[in-house]
Amino acid sequence: MRTFRVIKAEITKTAKIWLTYPIMIIFWGIFPLVWVLPFIFQGKAFVGGLTSESFKTLTGTGNYLSFVLLGAIISTYIFSGLWGVGNSLREETYWGTLEYMIISPTHPLVILIGKTVVEFIYATFMVATQSLVAVFLLGLKVGLHQLLPVVLIVLLLLVGFYGLAIAFAGFTLLVKEVHGWVHTLEWIFYLFSPIRYPVEVNPITKVISLLIPLTYALVAVRAVILLNKNILSLGKIILLLSIMDAIFLAAGIFLFDYLEKKTRRLGTLAMH
């Protein structure tokens, strides 16, 4: 009950602060509608349309636009989580409120779980808007029977990923640097996982992509939606994501606890 109250308080606080920045609301209202345009123009410029035979030999689908749309929608959770969860404690440092949260009798991990839930709600809102635009305006075909398997795959991706984001939040407390690290991770994900292009196009990216859980989730989601595969045929991927979840979540919690204590030992908790 107490944990629930902390999470609810965090949601209320974040929403109220967010609503005081009207320009951000306008930006995030419009952004989901326009972000995809460069991809459409890029695809058309390369292949004269939105389907490609050479693309099909690599991915199993010739529909370049649907491939990119799914990559962008799913990766929204990842990038929003990296910024939102990873940066959340640093943000409290800028506001001067972090120490007052830490000295409360609520475990810092519970506070971070609250922030993760806020981020999940926010990202889900973004993803829902993007998905509606993709389906109704850009012709992405998704059957109702495909929704449940996709939600399952995304949840499996997020449990492990939020574990990493929690560790990252502890790391940013220690190193006092968020932007550089988030941008680095963003570009690692862009380069080595199939968000915008099939990693099979290059042997190096193909190998490295195997280390990134996002790769497996994207492969599975695209298999369900674009290739109409049954979730049971993706058993290996589901198992792999489940194992990664257990490892990343446990490692994330352990690392956060260690890094938060180390920051208090070094005396740099409130430092900018």
């Binding site: 107490r2 109250r5 902390v6 609810k8 308080a9 965090e10 209320t12 606080k13 109220k16 602060i17 005081t20 506001w95 001067g96 409120t97 120490e99 007052y100 949260m101 830490i102 000295i103 409360s104 009798p105 609520t106 475990h107 506070i111 204590k261 208090r264 030992r265 070094l266 005396g267 740099t268 908790l269 409130a270 430092m271």
Partner: protein, 333 residues
């Protein structure tokens, strides 16, 4: 049983990298204890280690050595329990959500302190009324003055009705009216009515004198002495203080070489230098002091004063409370 006990506490900071790496001993083997219901002051100049000590007690810093006990329980072994027993108030305006109202700020922190909605609403209403913030309770904090923000911070530190309060420079930067209000509130409301145990840090001697039952002088991370304000003043019954304010500069050591001078301190602010000399009979050393100052310094005022707590501090440490001993400006004040 003591409400708060600090045993052999040592806290070091490591600063710099490579060859420039160095260790700063912020708190050096400090011990003291505070009785229930007592206001215990830590008085010392900036950088003396006061804030570091308070942050250790608040569990925001983990010390290298020593123990801190609250009602006999180790705070690092029972950190969540200890945090529920402690309220913290620091100086500085940036400790609240400026985009939220007072009520929203307090509601958020009440959730962190585990208050139920019913307890929370009752407590918030009581505290806002008590601190005179009821009329502005729903206004955004960014519109508040510094004093109002400090009152709201004080309300937050009292939300969970803690037994122990850590007040770190509670009146720093406030105008005289708000300072008076905060001081009266600490003495009347928190100590007399609510019987809180309070650890107060300050470098204002009059604040320490007015509020504290006992004072620990702290300098360079060490506790120099612990006594009541009256005991400190009784230590210097046959001493006088000569204060000379002038424009210019003087070597402290040159003044201390004058016969019968016991201690001297030199402090400059806004182009005016204040020289304080402690001696048994100040009229006997006045002409010698003026000779050391010479014609190149422009004398503004000469006063013969009774010793204050600050003079006792100078007498004990040779340092002034107005000195700034900081080596770095991170966590330390």
């Amino acid at each position: 049983m003591d409400a708060l006990e600090v045993r052999d506490l040592t806290k070091k900071f490591r600063r710099g990298r490579g060859l420039k790496k160095r260790e700063i001993l912020a708190v050096n083997n400090v011990s003291f204890s505070i009785c229930e219901g007592e206001i215990f002051g830590l008085l010392g100049p900036n950088g003396a280690g006061k804030t570091t000590l308070v942050r250790c007690v608040a569990t925001l810093l983990i010390p290298e050595a020593g123990k801190i006990l609250i009602f006999g329980r180790d705070i690092f072994e029972n950190s969540l329990w200890a945090r529920a027993s402690i309220g913290l108030l620091t100086s500085g305006e940036r400790t609240l959500y400026w985009k939220l109202s007072a009520v929203d700020n307090l509601k958020f922190f009440a959730a962190l302190y585990g208050l139920t909605p019913k307890e929370r609403d009752k407590r918030i209403e009581y505290l806002l009324e008590l601190l005179g913030l009821k009329d502005v309770a729903n206004e955004r904090v960014e519109k508040y003055s510094s004093g109002m923000k400090q009152k709201l911070s004080l309300a937050r530190s009292l939300l969970h009705d803690p037994k122990i309060l850590l007040l770190d420079e509670p009146t720093l930067g406030l105008d005289p009216a708000f300072s008076r209000f905060i001081r009266r509130f600490i003495k009347e409301e928190l100590q007399r009515k609510e019987k809180k145990t309070i650890l107060l840090t300050t470098h204002y001697m009059d604040e320490a004198d007015e509020l504290c039952d006992r004072i620990a002088f702290i300098n360079c991370g060490r506790i120099v002495d612990v006594k009541t304000p009256e005991e400190y003043k009784r230590e210097m019954p046959h001493k006088e203080v000569l204060e000379i304010r002038f424009i210019g500069a003087v070597e402290k050591s040159a003044i201390e070489r004058i016969p019968t001078v016991e201690k001297a301190s030199v402090f400059s602010k806004d182009g005016v230098t204040t020289l304080k000399i402690i001696a048994p009979h100040t009229e006997e050393i006045l002409s010698a002091a003026l000779a050391v100052l010479g014609n190149e310094n422009k004398i503004l005022a000469i006063n013969n004063l009774q010793p204050t707590l600050e003079d006792v501090f100078i007498h004990l440490t040779g340092a002034s409370l107005k000195d700034d001993l900081r080596e770095y400006t991170g966590d330390e004040e």
